[in-house]
């Protein structure tokens, strides 16, 4: 699925032509380990492991130009960490589960139905959805409500492109994302940890914010199943669970949607769930976070930033008491 394009007039190399970070890191690591003459057996084993994970064998490339407005200079999280440490309860509650069990998810054929308060309801198959707007690569911080964070290069386009196309009516105040619910493909559905299907939602102005990314890929490839294939939301100023995965339905609605985690524990997970260092989770502080792959055992956790550092969304919430509407 190579889509040739040069938006922004910037002629950047396709991300697929760049040596993936994990690979060159692995090379450097290898050289270093050889140089210090560490225990060769272990080093070689580790090296082989990492190289194998550097790229998802046989994964489809999904090329897109980097949008320089969202080109973070922070170090990207290793592909292996981003694809083996996931919260995706449809595939198990342990963060190691999805990478092991999500192979049962069938991402083709796939269609997304867009319905509710819109003038042009439609059902789009995945290919039409991907082609709806130019794909961009954006490097976003991801902050999990559990207190850890990653930096991930996503591939997608602003959700506003889709919203424009279906022409919401004046009644459309909120937007609701519904994840696939299929027991045959998703072993986690057997457990009643959440109300299925997984539903997430946004206020209309939030959904229209350019940061809200309808996402099809990461690290220059189509999304791995465990990361929410084939299409998901990425909302970098909100805690990770707000970004619905494996979306089959997008509904435009009048009333604030009942969202999965809010139903499960309303005192712990608010509808907005904006990243906010001043509003603690009842069971842990949100003031700091551990960056996966960087803040290890002997490093202090780093400070969490308001809106995860995306201050451009602040105007969406002016006049709101974010301590109450957390």
């Amino acid at each position: 699925m190579l889509i040739k394009r040069s938006s922004n007039g910037i002629d950047l190399p396709y991300s697929s032509e760049i040596t993936p970070r994990a690979v060159f890191e692995a090379r450097r690591d290898f050289i270093r380990k050889m140089a210090v003459g560490s225990i060769a057996g272990t080093a070689l084993f580790e090296m082989a492991n990492r190289a194998a994970f550097a790229q998802n064998a046989g994964a489809q490339k999904l090329a897109a130009n980097l949008n320089s407005a969202y080109a973070l200079v922070e170090k990207k999280t290793a592909y292996k960490d981003a694809t083996t440490y996931n919260n995706f309860y449809e595939f198990g509650t342990d963060k190691a589960d999805p990478a092991i069990t999500a192979h049962t998810l069938k991402t083709r054929p796939w269609s997304v139905s867009i319905e509710g308060e819109v003038k042009k309801p439609m059902t789009l198959d995945l290919d039409s959805l991907v082609k709806l707007a130019p794909l961009e690569e954006r490097i976003y911080r991801l902050r999990c409500v559990e207190g850890w964070s990653m930096v991930i290069p996503w591939v997608g386009y602003s959700l506003s492109n889709l919203i424009k196309k279906v022409e919401p009516t004046g009644n459309a105040k909120y937007i609701e994302f519904v994840t696939l619910e299929d027991k045959k493909q998703m072993p986690g559905l057997r457990s009643p940890v959440l109300e299925w299907p997984y539903v997430e939602g946004l206020r209309m102005d939030e959904a229209n914010h350019p940061l809200a990314l309808l996402t099809f890929g990461m690290y220059g490839e189509v999304l791995p199943n465990q990361n929410g294939a084939p299409v998901r939301m990425v909302l970098p100023w909100k805690y990770g669970f707000k970004s619905a995965k494996s979306i089959v339905k997008i509904r435009f609605v009048k009333d604030q949607p009942r969202t999965a985690w809010n139903i499960a524990a309303p005192s712990e997970y608010g509808f907005y769930s904006n990243v906010n260092p001043d509003v603690d989770h009842p069971r842990w502080s949100q003031a700091t976070e551990r960056r996966i792959g960087e803040d290890g055992l002997f490093t202090r956790k780093r400070k969490t930033l308001m809106f995860n550092g995306y201050s451009e969304v602040a105007s969406l919430y002016s006049g709101m008491d974010l301590k109450k509407l957390f």
Binding site: Y85, W284, G296
Partner: protein, 208 residues
């Protein structure tokens, strides 16, 4: 089943090594870089799990000893209890060191503010006097009766540990494991109540 003194000694050596294996595995993972994406979380959960396992093992000694007619098992109980303390100590140190970087004021805020940490902290603090009075000399100094009373704190510590785990999991809505631990601990405590209320050793049916 009766064992000779020598056999019991061997059994204890094997048990000691087995009980140390989780720790050796953890340390080797640190050096082999196998703790996964979030090493602190891995260590915290691993040491917490093993604390609960050893609390259950310790509580299981008396019922097993009676039910299986293996009186010598009592000689392993101190070691199992001390291992429970050992893993609880590692669990606490992970919290204090890797999570709070020895910022005791910060840690204290966490302990007071969050009930699941409060409960875990209390359970750990209560384990300290038990570990400290585990030597033969201390048993003598306290006197058997008083020592036994003190060590009945385990009946409080184990449920507190399960509650700590239950509350930790509460927000994730995933209760299967805490409930399992809860049932095991409840079973181990109930059997004692049963014996207390309905005679000493109702299970001695066959001539052992």
């Amino acid at each position: 089943m009766l064992l000779t003194n020598k056999q019991v000694s061997w059994f204890k050596i094997v048990l000691f090594i087995l009980a140390l294996l989780p720790f050796i595995r953890l340390v080797s993972f640190v050096f082999l870089d196998k703790l996964g994406a979030n090493p602190v979380e891995f260590i915290t959960r691993n040491t917490g799990d093993w604390t609960l396992y050893f609390l259950c093992f310790t509580l299981a000694v008396t019922p097993l000893r009676k039910l299986l007619h293996m009186p010598w098992l009592i000689r392993c109980r101190r070691m199992l209890g001390l291992y429970a303390f050992f893993y609880a100590f590692l669990h606490f140190m992970t919290f204090l060191w890797f999570d709070h970087f020895f910022d005791v004021a910060e840690m204290w805020k966490d302990v007071i503010k969050r009930p699941f940490i409060t409960v875990g902290f209390i359970a750990f603090v209560l384990l300290i006097p038990l570990a400290a009075t585990s030597t033969n000399a201390m048993i003598k100094r306290l006197g058997g009766k008083r020592w036994q009373w003190l060590h009945r704190l385990i009946y409080l510590i184990a449920p507190l540990g399960v509650l700590h785990y239950f509350w930790m999991k509460a927000g994730k809505n995933d209760f299967s494991q805490p409930v399992l631990f809860g049932l095991i601990v409840a079973g181990l405590l109930m059997i004692r109540l049963w014996w207390r209320w309905f005679g000493r050793d109702p299970v001695v049916v066959t001539g052992a």
